[in-house]
């Protein structure tokens, strides 16, 4: 892997909740325009690691970080980081679909409106583009002004993806995006991720190893806060280097 291609570079990154060390000194590079999956058993720190990439962990009062997270070579934990700008460029989609209790249109508009875009025609265009990219346009184009909550679970999740896409992010972080969805909706989202990879970098945390094997280019395996193994997905799943990785992906623990 060439270092220059990495959009994120974690250097000795540790994350504490109070006194609890949730992520231990992780070194990891995330390549641009690829899908990187983070797998591992519950509580291994994979979500924490993911949320560190756009500083969503800032919302937790007693958290503390050590080391660096370089985004385009600049540490995002520097004091002068514009967190708002960072989160615009590094979007996030959550485990449970969480549209706002407003219309489909307003959900997608949320980000652009905050950035001060007021022109109706411009907003219309952004909304349509984002929904098309999230593969939702055909299903909702006639109910743009109905509540986002009236959609099915899978549609809601794609709405949340569209909402993030409206910000034109460079990176999208997915925190177990399909764990609350049925198999068909899951397949839709997975296809969508493959499509999105062409334009943006994707980091996905998943419980579902098959999912990681199916869609990701690189896989990171974490255990008890440590990054045990990282490499190309094919290598990790076919010929893991570490004994723990092998045991986890063959289902001997988890």
């Amino acid at each position: 892997m060439v270092a220059g291609k990495n959009i994120f570079e974690l250097k000795d990154f540790s994350f504490y909740y109070g006194d609890f060390l949730a992520v231990k000194s992780v070194n990891l590079g995330i390549e641009a325009r690829k899908i990187t999956a983070i797998i591992g058993p519950s509580g291994c720190g994979k979500s924490t690691l993911l949320r560190s990439l756009n500083r969503m962990n800032d919302l937790i009062l007693t958290s503390r970080v050590e080391g660096e997270v370089l985004f385009h070579g600049v540490d995002i934990y520097r004091k002068d980081t514009d967190v708002i700008e960072l989160r615009k460029r590094v979007g996030m989609v959550f485990q449970k679909p969480n549209p706002f209790p407003s219309s489909v249109y307003e959900n997608v508009c949320y980000g652009p409106r905050i950035r001060g875009i007021k022109k109706k025609s411009q907003l219309d265009e952004i909304v349509e583009n984002a929904l098309v990219r999230a593969d939702l346009w055909k299903e909702v184009k006639d109910k743009l002004h109905e509540s986002g909550m009236s959609l099915s679970g899978g549609q809601m999740q794609r709405l949340c993806i569209a909402r993030s896409l409206a910000q034109e992010p460079e990176v999208l972080l997915f925190d177990e995006p399909t764990s609350a969805l049925d198999p068909i909706s899951t397949a839709n989202i997975e296809n969508l991720l493959q499509e999105l990879r062409k334009t943006i970098t994707i980091v996905i945390v998943t419980h579902n190893m098959q999912q990681a094997a199916r869609i990701s280019d690189y896989t990171a395996f974490m255990y008890l806060g440590e990054l045990i193994e990282f490499g190309e997905t094919d290598t990790i799943f076919v010929n893991p280097y570490n004994k723990l990785t092998e045991e986890y992906i063959t289902g001997r623990f988890g």
Partner: protein
């Protein structure tokens, strides 16, 4: 005793106690309307509701309640203008802005203030706020400022504006609807802010996360997500706050000035409905017209507050069904 028998006995006792209080309340309501009916029957509904003169002890007596109703309306509007923004702002501060340690102290303090005896507030208004208004604020507003304005010689400012200050901002007595509104605000803020704070806190964390992850700042999140999604809870807070203001007796009795005339200006005195009942019930002869008229006021008051709580109930029910319908 077999457990079934015990179970039955407990059930009977609990339902008897529950039914007893409900029946007592219903009977009070029935009594209120029965006693109130007579005045409307005797004088006429329109004459009572829209009559301009409240002279219950004159000969012949007059029972026009319109000045009293307008007293309540005026005091309620003035108080709402102060208490609703302040109460909601307090709630937003506690729920969203305050450091969690500050919040831990402030939240119970505000809730305790809701149980502050209103007679103390009334007393405070009487001996502190009213004199400040009439002895200190009034000379500044109606004498010093007009003098200053006139001396400037600027057209309009030295004439019209100065005259306005001179005429309108002279406070003849500190006991007026503004003082009442100030004290009622102190009474209503804790009510509004503690309910509103609960409504704001009940907004799911996932909404906030979504907002922050989209690059929204704290204020954007509060304005565009938290407040809109708790708007029904906030309305309930406002309505119950208004209910408190309408029904509050002691404060208006002590500081609203007591004049049974329609207040036309913020420094006019008024006799809101609860104050009229409290002040006059002791002197009204049993079963006299005056006595029935006071019950009539009580009935109107009851209908207003009942309507307000029905409304808040309706809004919160609607709110709840939306939340259950949520597919999250």
């Amino acid at each position: 005793m077999r457990w079934q028998t015990k179970e039955k006995a407990v059930e009977r006792i609990v339902s008897a106690v529950g039914l007893f209080s409900v029946i007592v309340l219903l009977l009070i309501g029935f009594f209120l309307f029965k006693e109130a009916f007579f005045i409307f029957y005797k004088i006429g509904v329109m004459k009572v509701l829209f009559g301009m003169a409240w002279y219950p002890t004159y000969e012949p007596p007059e029972f026009g309640m319109f000045p009293l109703i307008m007293g309540t309306v005026a005091v309620t509007i003035l108080t709402s203008l102060l208490a609703i923004p302040l109460g909601i702002a307090t709630a937003v501060y506690i729920a969203e802005v305050a450091h969690h340690r500050v919040k831990e102290i402030l939240k119970p303090v505000i809730e305790m203030l809701a149980s502050f005896p209103s007679v103390v507030l009334g007393f405070f208004g009487m001996v502190v706020v009213a004199p400040i208004l009439s002895n200190w604020l009034s000379p500044i507003l109606s004498e010093h400022i007009p003098e200053l304005l006139r001396s400037t010689g600027i057209p309009l400012l030295s004439t019209t504006v100065a005259d306005f200050f001179y005429d309108k901002l002279f406070i003849a007595s500190g006991l007026n609807i503004s003082t009442a509104a100030l004290m009622l605000t102190a009474r209503a803020i804790p009510v509004i802010s503690s309910i509103a704070e609960d409504a704001l806190t009940a907004v799911p964390r996932t909404y906030r996360e979504a907002s922050y992850s989209l690059g929204a700042g704290k204020w954007d999140t509060i304005w565009r997500v938290v407040i809109p999604s708790s708007v029904s809870g906030l309305s309930v807070a406002v309505i119950l706050g208004i209910g408190t203001i309408v029904g509050e007796t002691m404060i208006v009795l002590m500081v609203a000035g007591g004049a049974a005339v329609i207040p036309y200006w913020i420094f006019d005195a008024a006799r809101p409905m609860p104050a009229a009942i409290a002040a006059e019930m002791a002197e009204a002869p049993f079963r006299s017209l005056h006595y029935h008229a006071l019950f009539g006021i009580g009935a109107i008051l009851f209908l207003i507050t009942f309507g307000l709580s029905l409304l808040s109930d309706f809004i919160s029910k609607k709110y709840r069904s939306v939340r259950i319908g949520e597919k999250i």
